[in-house]
Structure formats: C-alpha cells, structure tokens
Symmetry: C2
Subunit: 291 residues, 2 copies
C-alpha cells in the first residue's frame, strides 16, 4: 500500500511531500505539532490533542489552517488512505511561507502537514521489565507549555539518554527538580504510595495523556499530589513511570543506574495504563487484553 | 532575472525550492544557519561565518554537507546565478530527512539549502537618526552559542519589539543583565567612554561582526571591556548600538523609551561601522563613502 502524506490540501505520495525552504517551520521553528495514537481505529484522546493544538496556535498567534472540525475529518481521511488502524498520526502547523524575517508576516497562510504511519509500539519487554531513565540538565526555553517544533534541546537530550543506554532522559531544572522527559511526562510513587507528578506550568508540556491519567487516578481514588519532586526524591521512589501519547504508560525501573523500588514495574503504573486504554475503549496494543 | 535557490546539489527556481516534510530542520529545528552580507560582490567576514558554521555543526554532530571549500564555491555560484552583488546570502544545514524520531539517525545525509537575495539595507534614517530598542525577558534555551534554527523565542521577541515600535529587542536574563538582541549583539559606551559588550559564553551567540568589531576596536585603541551589563547601566550609557552580519552597526538612541545620552547616534558606533566596512574593503552600502 503506498504511503500518503497531507500537505496544505493535498494528499501526496510520502516521498513527494515537501514544504518550501522559506516555510517558517523550517527556518525559524515557528510552528507547533501534535501526535495522536490510533488504536483499533480509535484516535485516543483526540479532543484533548485538538484542544491543545488550538492553545499552542493561540499562544503563537498562528491562525488555524483549517477549522478544527475539518482537521478531524482530514485526519480520518489520511489514516484511511494509509490503511492505518493502529499507528501514529502526526500533525504540524507552521506560520507558513514568507520571505525570511523574524517578524510575523502580515498575512500568514499557515502550513498544515500530516503524516500517518503504522507503529511498532513499545516492545512488550519494555512493559514487562520496565525501562531505564537518566537525568540531564533541562536546557530548554521557558515556554515549554507550547508544543512547538523548536525541539532541538529535546533531540539532544534524547540522544544523550540513548547513548547512555536509557529509554528516556528526565530533564532537571537548576533547582534540582525533575521537569519531565524529553518526550514524555515523569511520574513517581512515594514510599507511602502517593502518586506524584509535576504541576502544569510554563516549565513543562502539559501532556494530554498526563491529564487523562490524573483524571483516572482521581476516579480510582489514588492519592495524587501535583507538585515538583527532586532527583533525590525520585531515587527513593517506590515506583516510577513515564506517560506520552505514543507510549501511554511505560514503567521506569532504573534512574541513573539505581533501581527504583525493587527494580521491577510497579502496580500503579500498570493500573493506570490499563485504565487509560479502557477509558479510550481499546485493548492494549502491546499487551492485548479485553476492553 | 529569475531567482534561484540551492537545495542539496541543485539550483532550483525559488518557487520550487522545497525540502521533505520529514526533514529534521522542519520537524525538530535540528539545524544551523549563517547569514552573510555581500557588498560590492565581497562576502563580508566570510571566513568567520564558515568557521562558525563548522562549530555549530560540530556542537550538534551534524556532518558537513559539502566541504567548506566547496561551500564557498557554491555560495559564489548562487550569488552569480541571482545577479546579486549587494545583498544577503543565507545558508542552512540540517541533519537531513529521516523517519521522525528524536534520536539522531544512524546515517544522516545532511540537507544544505541556500538562498541569495538583493537587500534593502537598513534605511539611511536608521543610521542618521538611530533606532529604538526595548528590553524583554530572555526566555531562550541555554545553548545560545549554537546558531541553530530553533529561533522561536527570537521570533516572539522581535515581534514584541516591533509591536512596541522598536527596531530590536534586547533580551534580559533573570539576573538583570542584557544578553543580546534577538538578531544582533548589544553594545554600550559608558559615561567615561568605555565600550562594553557581553563576553561570549553559552548565553549569547558570538557574533562574527561582534568579533571583528572587537578586533578593530582594539586596533583603534578604544577602551573595551567584555563584561555583562545591566539594563540600568544601559539606561545610563552615553551611547549604544547593535551589530549584526546584515546590518553591520546601527546606532541605538532609545532604550525602553529613554534617550541614550543626548538621544542621537554616538561617535564610537559610527567609527566602528566605518572601520568594519573599510576592513572588508567595501564602501558603506547605505551611506556610501570611499573605501
């Protein structure tokens, strides 16, 4: 089946999908994006992702390229054209093409690009055995709440983590608190069983999966604290995990080489993963199981 | 005369110059750039710009897309094809096209893009009357020494400055010190005639024009201090100016609405502009004058 991408109103063979070299996404990172998981044909947390896309656009004063309702239709068309019922949909909007000038163009025509691909989800072993994270200085800008394509710091962080044999890097602000992963939110469970994750602010991206997990944790009457936590506290955690739109929940069993708790995946992360996928109305694409 | 751009080995009509939507420059801001002014056919500070491009690439571990010597030839070819003897040459290198993944691709094929255009230099009035700057919080990441295309903070800063009627925004770190302009370096002259600009570090881009001006200032036996300065000190300056590859030296006569000195362009900035262009062996493209 040939692969198609969507670029500004057209479905193009993937290899031909291009943007102009003066697109502000290419020259200035002047754009935003979302990644949505498709499981059994269901767009998980679609509403949340569309809402956040709108917020990111508004913060940068980039107009919607199409109406949100139209975008949802295009997303389904692209998934169908690619025959994807299990995979990832990537949406990027930029301020469009304009002669190079830092200032906003007077009359922007935003660029809308989408790709959709089947995904090898996280390997089963990642869920059964857990993954390692390492901590890194958080060198990013101070508007991390905007899901922009200015991702160079995250690229460098993920690469550094990977070279240290870790699945993810947990970024740490100068005050010693963990902000988040390079492409995920960070969670710990304290020794007395309290689920802790950093509150939303300009210092982290407010993950859509994160928001849904918080809602589900409250519904399951878990004890939850949205507060900062330090690397030292994370070392002492009973359990840890990361959340993201493409990986849902992945257990963390080592931080900087130190075992988390007993060094095996913990129960709260597993329950939250199950609850997340049940809430989405789908079976776990990695572990299977009923809805 | 039709306009041409250079994209990965080909000269393309400007309208057709495109990169793939999975170019890492577009999706991750995983790339770097340089802007070089061409005056009377001379590429000003070419050596410095090529050297810095190499440094930026090395910091990000992106291979050179072509050898530096080849790049210089291509730059000249592109300028010739566009009939540009006075204008700007823009060079961008990214880590190339790869399936979307934060980690570096194993075998990157870097993207090389260049544009070249005639330029309306700064209007004569900007030099004769000076320009205004406003101060803004510096919200950028902490590797500002890399000339990356992750420019979103600078875009927002320049736009905010422009909307406040200013030519440039001077960005200010939390400690109250001025880092630099959104696309220029910041300079002041103290009440007792000392030229002050911030030292190179990870907190500013080490401007090529800045480096040449420092060399020329030393040669002219100006008193120079490379040190941080606060917004308050800038308010009390006798003179101020900005430097950049595309504007050379532009006098600043208002900071946050307050006049700098007498509110007219000062002599040191003017002398340095003259010295810069004389050193490059060209006449001032705005003010004219002999070489």
């Amino acid at each position: 089946m040939p692969r198609y991408a969507y670029v500004n109103g057209r479905y193009l063979p993937h290899a031909d999908a291009a943007v102009h070299i003066e697109d502000r996404g290419f020259q200035f990172a002047d754009g935003v994006y979302e990644v949505i998981a498709i499981v059994d044909g269901t767009f998980t947390d679609e509403e949340g992702h569309i809402t956040r896309l709108g917020r990111s656009l508004a913060e940068l004063r980039i107009p919607w390229p199409v109406k949100p309702g139209t975008l949802r239709i295009l997303m389904r068309e692209l998934a169908a054209k690619n025959g994807v019922r299990n995979g990832l949909l990537y949406v990027q909007v930029t301020r469009g093409v304009a002669p190079r000038d830092f200032r906003f163009p007077a009359d922007p025509a935003p660029t809308l690009v989408m790709t959709c691909r089947r995904t090898k989800w996280q390997p089963r072993a990642a869920l059964e055995k857990g993954v390692a994270v390492v901590t890194l200085p958080d060198i990013r800008w101070l508007r991390r709440d905007i899901k922009s394509v200015a991702l160079l710091a995250q690229v460098l962080g993920k690469q550094a983590a990977s070279e240290r044999g870790a699945f993810e890097g947990w970024m740490v602000d100068p005050d010693g608190t963990v902000t988040e992963g390079t492409s995920s939110n960070a969670w710990i469970v304290t020794g007395d069983g309290v689920l802790v994750t950093r509150p939303a602010s300009n210092l982290i991206l407010n993950g859509i999966t994160r928001q849904t997990l918080l809602r589900l944790a409250a519904a399951m009457q878990m004890r939850v604290e949205e507060r900062t936590f330090t690397v030292e506290e994370a070392y002492r955690a009973r359990e840890a995990f990361v959340s993201s739109a493409s990986a849902f929940v992945i257990p963390v069993v080592r931080i900087d080489g130190r075992p988390v708790g007993e060094g095996v995946p913990g129960p709260l992360g597993r329950r939250l993963r199950e609850a997340y996928l049940a809430d989405a109305g789908v079976a776990d694409p990695v572990l299977g199981g009923g809805r």
